[in-house]
């Protein structure tokens, strides 16, 4: 894969990179850092990508690991007294405040699975590969996500 091909594929997945990283990190600065790290890692590991058709799931998998690393680093800082930043308006990726609040209220692992399936459109078998969890776990997280979202919307109604 040459450089222009790599650039084309990354930009093709830009919306996914934005939505997935923002849904996990809830902060645009951290999301940019995670995407930056993921792009660098992906470029250096291009040799391990078996087929171009898997690029999207592969890049998303790398991004999610980078986001988790960011979360761990943030948690360490919070433990020694540094306050986590408040979400400013530019850190809100949602048009609908209602849906945004409902998604943010989901536990992180469930939220990630929900975003990957219902927003990004990945089938269960792709999510299994991205998150490196069994298929049954993907389905149970999606099922739980639907229940929790339904509860929230029922409450608001």
């Amino acid at each position: 894969m040459n450089n222009s091909e790599f650039e084309r594929l990354v930009l093709k997945n830009e919306q996914t990179l934005y939505r997935v990283s923002m849904s996990i990190l809830k902060n645009e600065a951290d999301a940019q850092d995670a995407v930056h790290d993921a792009v660098l890692i992906a470029y250096t590991r291009l040799g391990s990508l078996k087929k171009e058709e898997y690029f999207s799931t592969w890049l998303t998998s790398i991004l999610i690991n980078c986001c988790k690393k960011q979360l761990r680093m943030k948690k360490r800082c919070a433990d020694i007294g540094e306050a986590l930043p408040d979400a400013a308006s530019r850190d809100n990726p949602y048009i609908s405040v209602e849906i945004g609040e409902a998604l943010n209220a989901l536990p992180e692992k469930i939220r990630t699975a929900v975003i990957l399936h219902y927003v990004e459109g990945y089938p269960v078998k792709d999510i299994k590969r991205i998150l490196k969890i069994p298929e049954g776990t993907v389905k149970s997280r999606l099922s739980r996500g639907r229940e929790l979202l339904k509860e929230q919307f029922d409450l608001k109604a």
Partner: protein
Amino acid sequence: MNNLKSAFKPVPERFSYSVRESIKEAEIKNPKKTGSKRGIKVLAVFSALLIAVPCGAFAVTKIYSMIAEQVGSYGVELNVEKTEAENSPEYVKLKVDVPKGFKTYIEGIKYFKTTKSENGYISLWLLRPNKNNTGGLLTNIEDYKQTEINGHSAVIADEAENPVENGSKQINVYFENVNIILGAYIGSDVTEKEAVNFLKNVQIVKGTKNDCTEYNISETEKVGEEYSAKSLYIPEKQNKEIDFGKDSYTVSLSNVKISDNVKNLDKRSFYFWGQSSDEYINSDGTLKPREREKWKWGDGVNTKDEKTGSVSVAQKFVLVDITYKNNTDKTLYNQGINVYLKAMQKKKGVLGMHSFYSYDPNADDGCYQYKKGYVNRHKKDNLYIFNLKPRETKTFTVGFRCDSDMIDNAYFNIDGTGISDIKIPAENKVLYSAVYFSVKVKE
């Protein structure tokens, strides 16, 4: 759920700019080599292979993976994707082709860099995922990544600072052919590249009951639990001899001496892991005090161990003779001197034999230094590997530095781990062939 997709804003231009800049940075930092000639040569080789190999050889074989999942802040759970019943033999054999730069300490168990660094070790163990395909929980992990080693899925985990050693790693490799996870503790003086290169030389294959196998792996309900329950044995009556069976050796302890001064010992037999004896011994033969660190124990999942201070402790030197008698008519190769000095104390409220470097009286946790500082009959270092000829007996004098305030609570420990040629009966359900035998230093 259909509304979710339209709930997101378009990508902001500043974010898009950041992505493009990241791509440029990746390309600048990692320039690709171009060369059409090389490309053609590779293509030609591949085409030749296609012609030569029968089509049936390209049938895809399903490879099951080991997957790591974060638990809490410092825990990592290992799960395997799926296993096939026929891939879970009762007996397995571990083969290590020791690469250059390392040497065997205890065959199949522990290896050291030839630079003789105290922390230049690779320590191996095996375990089988349980019926729920769980391969165990790694604790006190600062960071981890999934990778592949020789086509086997692997997890490389960086350990958080702990009382025993700083900055070491754990690497777990899943051998799907036999449904076994190979675990490796990597000392901090071994680089990741060296460790991965070492593990590429490890094979685990199906064994048989009659093989000279170091491990007899049986399924257990909870990974690790049965091992820890059976690994500790304190006899009610102090018996200074342990017999590992007619296919192995008998080991016994005698002639215990506790001293404040080591000037009469053979200086060539001291070994403090590459450091000079002057670090530990004064010119008049008395022992320098040791800085004992104080640590507060975490649970390894949500909290990690934390150092809280240190205290200076006077030292004694403990000597003991250890005798090995070969019970067989064949040579026993690559035996290690398997006596250690530990203290009987509580860790997290549970009484047991421990050999850590920390002590926190408020936490009821204790610690003790256990590394040998003296081995006679060997003038180079105490990575002493010896062979026992048929029916031969050998005796070594082994010495340990000892915290003077722990001497009343100290035990010699005989470690059965890694004794080669030991055979475990099929009905034995112990996960790991480890036997600990303890003898009090001061009777």
